[in-house]
Symmetry: C2
Subunit: 314 residues, 2 copies
């Protein structure tokens, strides 16, 4: 049995910015702890301040280096910063992100930088259920900006736009990145585009291609996604990215789009949690389900009627 | 508005083996029709006869050609056969499978062969919800053997084992197929292994590697997965595959494993349908959800409490 956790104390200590309390709370999210509803209720009044910035891009574009450079630039402005790396494919945290952690080591001793990796596989609500809760912990801990990135590619790269206020899409010159981006659908979700490794051949071409593709996007209101060229390893262009992040936040706030995005995020989170709760309840009725399944397998009951009975009795 | 459908008549005509009625019923499954519970209830008493055989394997191993050769071999024994190709990534049916259909054209005019492709993306219950219902249609239509394959790779390749009585894993010599199979987890799910294109170099090596890996599998009861070498384009080895399919069915029946697998399948189907039904109900409460989401975004309500309220009111 787990020890009883003093949730109000844990939340109070997280609010004071104590790293151990923040880490503990995120672990509760990761582990799908039964204490989560209580945690969530205790956090709610202290949330809504942080600007959540999602970073997405194919492997090899320099995502971790860019994240680290952004952290440096934000710290120079005195901001409290968090980095949340989500691994949707792994049931384990930590290991896969060792590389990132090493590259982040310059920020390790800074008490105003939280760096955390989290596994979401196996979490009943998936990425959509787990990530917003972890973000809420970091938000309540007084972070001004939370950088979120996913490990790996595919669906999760697009999902990140669903949990962020502002989405940064990272590209690198050449390698048909532009076309690949369009294919993956990440072109549609970018609020700011960053062409990293801009000291390499082809940066201008990639910018031109990208500009054309951005021009063909569906209406995105009064915001036209800027393209920033960076060399993250040297910190070049990073301050400009931070400027654009702040411009976008101002746009979001003034246009009312911030509220729209956050309400949309809350809606998806609520639905994911509701479904997860039903899934858990169904799991608790294993014996009854097995009996219904036997009747369906024998042809004496149809699966729709069985599903309906299962819901009635769970 | 859709015309009212005479379900009992449609099911009766499907039972007589009328291809148009079978196709119509599968379209209802694909479209997630509101008539599905009625269809399902009408089909239930006529199901449980067909032997469901899943085919899985990486692109390039000759899956379609093998399927077509298996159909020929089963037809020579006078069996009524169906082929169900499921595309979990596409919201559309037909198009993506045109290639398969051309290769299947030799069976097009045979009234005892049903060939059907079905899209499962967008289906609320996903592959696990849609496929068993389509299989039930083909089962009630008097098919002796139903060959199921998925288009594309990844998770769906493993999912197919969850809906089949017998799972065939297709490999081809060389190209590190053995190791790839192990990685994808399809090695664990194979009841019968087929090395197609066995007239190419490396077939003996692939068989040897495969034999070793099968030897390392967790206990699979009294059944040791056989390895059959085929050249599907020439029909070589196909009769032997059919023999092994029938051997496996006999083993399943005698050991009680058939019932266990079918009850497991029914259980997953019931759970998928129950969740889909909750999801649909939540979707019908969009306005209420939006209100709750606004409160969560404002920090005046936490998402767990919101999810709980949503479930109470839907």
């Amino acid at each position: 049995m787990a020890r009883a956790i003093d949730i109000p104390d844990l939340v109070a200590r997280a609010q004071q910015g104590q790293a151990a309390a923040v880490a503990r709370l995120i672990s509760l999210v990761e582990d799908d702890s039964p204490a989560l509803p209580e945690v969530s209720a205790a956090l709610a009044p202290h949330t809504g301040r942080a600007h959540i910035v999602g970073l997405t891009g194919s492997p090899g574009v320099g995502k971790s280096t860019s994240t680290s450079a952004l952290v440096s630039s934000l710290r120079q402005q005195g901001k409290r910063v968090a980095v949340l790396a989500i691994d949707p494919s792994s049931p384990f945290s930590g290991g896969a992100l060792l590389g990132d952690r090493i590259r982040m080591s310059e920020h390790d001793t800074d008490p105003d930088v939280f760096i955390r990796s989290m596994a979401s596989r196996g979490h009943l609500g998936g990425l959509a259920g787990a990530a917003p809760q972890a973000l809420r912990v970091l938000d309540a801990a007084g972070c001004d900006v939370i950088l979120v990135e996913t490990v790996g590619v595919g669906q999760s790269e697009v999902e990140i736009a669903g949990i962020a206020d502002t989405t940064l899409v990272l590209l690198a010159p050449g390698m048909g990145d532009g076309i690949q981006a369009a294919k993956a659908g990440i072109l549609e979700i970018g609020d700011i585009f960053v062409i990293n490794k801009a000291d390499r051949d082809g940066a201008a071409t990639t910018r031109r291609e990208l500009r054309t593709m951005i021009g063909m996007r569906a209406d995105t209101g009064d915001w036209t996604a800027p393209i920033v060229l960076t060399v993250a390893t040297k910190g070049e262009g990073t301050d400009e990215v931070v400027d654009e992040i702040q411009n976008h936040f101002a746009y979001l706030t003034e246009s009312g789009e911030l509220t729209r995005r956050r309400v949309g995020r809350a809606r998806r989170e609520i639905e994911a949690l509701a479904l997860a709760s039903v899934q858990r309840r169904l799991g608790e009725h294993a014996a009854g389900t097995e009996q219904l399944a036997a009747e369906v397998a024998a042809g004496s009951l149809d699966p729709f009627a069985a599903a309906s009975r299962l819901l009635d009795h769970s």
